[in-house]
């Protein structure tokens, strides 16, 4: 009986996989099960200290140049084979774009249930999870009446906790890959230093109130000062001011940062749905009646084109002093 956690990589191990391992360790301790981990990618050559103290007993590293980029068919095949071999009762994966797809396919192949995009895991006689539904308007406590069960965990919801410096044993496996019916023609990767919305610790987002696309540089400068990702409201996307991949909200991305700075965003219910789990929300808006002021921790009523550059300046000043 064991728990299997999937450590996602993009060249290096991603933070969200280590978060999933930490959340899984708690389940392992409460249930008395062993925690194992799965890595798929090029030869695993990271400093093992990245896995120190996470409570992982064995890391199964499937190493193949052709596993560097995600292939649904190949990843699902390996995950399901390993889950069966280890008799995994609980499988945990980060709820990233790739992770969610992998979980859904694996759940179908293993004929088990899946709770997708959970924000907490627990064990009390069986696996339990907390899952937002209706774009986060409702929180659902779910429990698995039978195991194995599969859960994906939303990035930024669990802290990475290390105890001691124990390292996992590493079992390296290099096996022939199954043929796939899909081929990768090209992978476009973001520039280094790029922060994705769903994994960002800080997000600066703009809405109709920024006035026009010519004002994005004002927000981008604040992003740069903070190491933040840039988000947008549906209104800004639908106006054609920015690409849909930046949209936060019901038809965009659901985000969970430590800090969300909403600039010129009125706060429609569909937008709140995408960012309501942010730890701290700051609203900057000219309209004191904007609904966002009912849903923020700090509000500044004023002209964002004046406030935002001053905030960026203040951050840079403090950091250099």
């Amino acid at each position: 009986m064991s728990i299997l956690v999937i450590l996602e990589q993009r060249g290096n191990l991603k933070i969200c996989g280590l978060e999933a391992a930490s959340a899984s360790r708690k389940v392992a301790e409460a249930s008395g099960m062993t925690l194992n981990a799965l890595y798929l990618g090029r030869a695993f050559d990271e400093n093992p200290s990245v896995l120190a103290g996470l409570g992982i007993s064995t890391l199964y590293a499937y190493e193949n140049e052709d596993l560097h980029y995600y292939s649904n068919e190949r990843y699902v095949h390996i995950l399901c084979e390993l889950a069966r071999e280890l008799e995994a009762k609980v499988i945990v994966c980060p709820a990233t774009a790739v992770g969610k797809e992998l979980c859904a396919s694996a759940a179908a192949r293993l004929q088990i249930e899946l709770a997708q995009d959970c924000v907490a895991l627990d064990w009390n006689e069986t696996l339990k999870a907390v899952k937002p539904i209706y774009a986060g308007k409702v929180i659902s406590d779910v429990s698995f009446s039978k195991l194995p069960g599969l859960v994906s965990l939303r990035p930024n919801t669990a802290a990475i906790e290390r105890r001691g410096e124990d390292l996992p044993a590493i079992v390296r496996r290099d096996m022939p890959l199954i043929p796939a019916r899909s081929t990768i023609l090209e992978v476009a990767e973001a520039m280094s230093g790029y922060v994705d919305l769903t994994e960002a610790k800080i997000i600066v987002a703009g809405g109709r109130g920024i006035g026009g696309p010519e004002n994005w540089p004002v927000l981008q400068d604040l992003c740069e000062a903070l190491g933040a990702a840039l988000g947008a409201s549906r209104a800004a996307v639908d106006a054609g001011w920015i690409d849909a991949s930046h949209q936060v909200g019901q038809t965009g991305k659901v985000v969970c940062p430590d800090l969300y700075i909403a600039c010129g965003i009125s706060g429609a219910i569909q937008h709140l749905a995408g960012m309501r789990t942010a730890k701290i929300i700051v609203a900057i808006n000219r309209d004191p009646e904007a609904p966002i002021f009912q849903f923020c921790d700090y509000g500044i009523v004023g002209d964002l084109l004046e406030i935002v550059p001053k905030l960026a300046g203040e951050i840079r000043n403090r950091r250099t002093n």
Binding site: A107, A108, Y134, I184, A188, A244, D297, K310
Partner: protein, 256 residues
């Protein structure tokens, strides 16, 4: 070419939701239902493909009888026919995907489109499971679809980048915002949709192993996501405002 599209009848995203007395379900009476917004992109993409290559688009929906309204919306947008799979309300992800896969298998589709997730359950799993059960490859969250030399070429978004992939058919794709702009139903199509016959399949028609229809994921409790925010307005001159904000974020909240 047969193009299938999976659609779902869901509460409008602006709905105010109330939790029932049992604490495990929602009171959905009096709430406006619509086609799942992501499914509109799937319907549009299916119709665009038919317009280029000919063939037939079939909308498939699992849910209560009222779901026919959403099938009629799809018909009014231009799909050729609709199938309702009824009696699926109590199913969890495993059972529901088996029902849909069995229903779809009767159509032998060449391409299946679906929205990337349903905005009620936010499950993001049914379509991918359906592909797996039908033994066909798939990609989630695509923002571009093209058919080239009998193969589907798609752009699939991932965090901070995208994959350009090529698929043998049949295959399933889930769509998201950015792929197209869904059309509005036309008046003649709305009239035609009202009169259209919608084929109905029940779970028992689909001959699925009963044990696999059993839900193994139980809802123990639902709670409204109410989180009290401080709603602290910072007054003063702009420079004083940002200095105060910075101090609070750094010293009290420790998020900087």
């Amino acid at each position: 070419m047969i193009i299938a599209v999976l659609i779902k009848h869901v509460p409008d995203t602006a709905s105010v939701l109330t939790i029932s007395d049992d604490g495990k379900s929602l009171t959905l009476n009096g709430i406006k239902f619509v086609m799942n917004p992501y499914d509109e992109f799937a319907v549009e993409e299916a119709i665009l493909l038919r317009e280029r290559l000919g063939g037939e688009v079939v909308a498939v929906c699992a849910g209560p009888p009222e779901s026919k309204e959403t099938i009629r919306t799809a018909l009014a947008m231009g799909v050729n026919s609709g199938v309702l799979i009824s009696g699926t309300e109590q199913l969890a992800g495993r059972g529901l995907s088996m029902a849909l896969a069995a229903g779809l298998a009767t159509l032998s589709p060449d391409v299946i489109f679906a929205g990337k997730q349903a905005v009620d359950s936010d499950g993001s799993q049914i379509s991918e499971r359906v592909a797996e059960l039908m033994g066909i490859p798939h990609a989630s969250c695509i923002t571009r679809f093209e058919l080239k030399d009998g193969k589907a070429e798609v752009i699939r978004e991932v965090e901070g980048g995208h994959y350009h992939l090529s698929f043998e058919l049949p295959a399933l794709f889930t769509t998201q915002k950015g792929i197209n702009t869904p059309r509005y139903p036309t008046l003649p199509n709305i009239m035609k949709a009202k009169r259209a016959t919608i084929k109905e399949l029940s779970l028992s028609d689909l001959q699925i192993e009963p044990a696999l229809l059993e839900s193994e994921l139980l809802v123990e409790r639902l709670a409204p996501a109410r989180r009290e925010r401080r709603r602290q307005l910072i007054a003063g001159e702009p420079l004083a405002q940002v200095q105060k904000l910075y101090r609070s974020l750094q010293e009290e909240d420790k998020v900087l």
